[in-house]
Subunit: 200 residues, 2 copies
């Protein structure tokens, strides 16, 4: 394997992913990651607070991109559509990475610690979206619920993508997830209504 | 103040709440909680993993009550209504505590650490509800979305209750929160309706 030349953060990230996938996240130490990267533990901790954070180094950029898209969306679009379009765009960028992003998702699902960290990042994303919606004039409580609904659709779409065969389009997946959320929350109307006269 | 006689866990819980409210959560140590309770740090750690967990000792009972209510709901009720009824019942039991439950909520909102721990408990609750819905025959993805929607309504209702004056009924609050969630996710239909005659 040719020696991979990159900055310290990129080398540590690559080493961590390799080791997590080889041995399982729980069985890898920071010392081992640093050694594989040819660096010191001290260097590791200059870039990451702990071994979980390696998997979340992209979270600030994701959040900034989504918040910018919400802030810059046209004014006449419904808030939920603004949020889902912003998340669809960010999700498409991630899923275009392909296998690396799927491997990351499987790692997160393999570890309770990583799953908790992921949830905390999603709550932060939700709160940032809610603030951006309030800046567009939406009342606080409505902004929070809309942001939560969007993030729920995003997480659902992402899980489906990670476990799907082939390359499903993320935009279609998040639209389908939003439809499923609507179905889940809406009252069920099934009192066997008679068909209107003259229709089939 | 009369010496409060109770089991060690109850004494530690009371001491922790007193100190958190007096000094702020971040500025209290486990040693101080143990001292106020007339017990040792060692005893504290027999009951709680850390000083955050004192506020979440009720989480397993809450989760069990909600899961039982979901499991035992009649079969002909829509899944979202099953979940919201179960959460309404559990939430009513909590809000009947009154000021103590409001103080707890304010503490949680005062600390990022506590807020994160609360989010993790809510994710665990959501996942447990989803499993209970699957046991009722709902497909996995639909069960997860329904559970998430219910927990979102619960959190929204609880925040509104904690910040409301007086004693709002939790059942009404969670129903209103679910309605607001429906409004947030549903497509907006507003093809510029003309104003009703006689209004400005």
């Amino acid at each position: 394997m040719p020696r991979w030349e990159g900055g310290a953060q990129a080398r540590l990230t690559r080493a961590a992913y390799e080791l997590y996938l080889e041995r399982g996240f729980e069985h890898v130490t920071v010392a081992e990651i640093a050694e594989r990267a040819g660096l010191t533990k001290r260097t590791f901790f200059r870039y990451f607070d702990d071994k979980r954070e390696v998997l979340f180094s992209g979270a600030p950029a994701l959040q900034d991109a989504v918040v910018d898209a919400v802030a810059n969306a046209p004014g006449d679009v419904a808030p939920i559509d603004v949020v889902v379009a912003a998340l669809a765009s960010a999700g498409s960028a991630i899923t275009e990475i392909g296998e690396g992003a799927r491997a990351r998702q499987r790692l997160i699902e393999s570890s309770n610690d990583l799953h908790e960290r992921e949830m905390i990042k999603m709550v932060a994303l939700r709160d940032a979206i809610a603030v951006a919606l309030q800046a567009r004039g939406l009342p606080g409580s409505r902004a929070a619920l809309t942001a939560q609904a969007g993030v729920t659709a995003f997480q659902t779409a992402f899980e489906r993508w990670a476990h799907a065969e082939g390359s499903a389009d993320f935009g279609s997946l998040i639209d389908a997830a939003l439809d499923d959320l609507r179905t889940a929350v809406n009252p069920v109307v099934h009192p066997d209504p008679p068909p209107p006269p003259g229709t089939s």
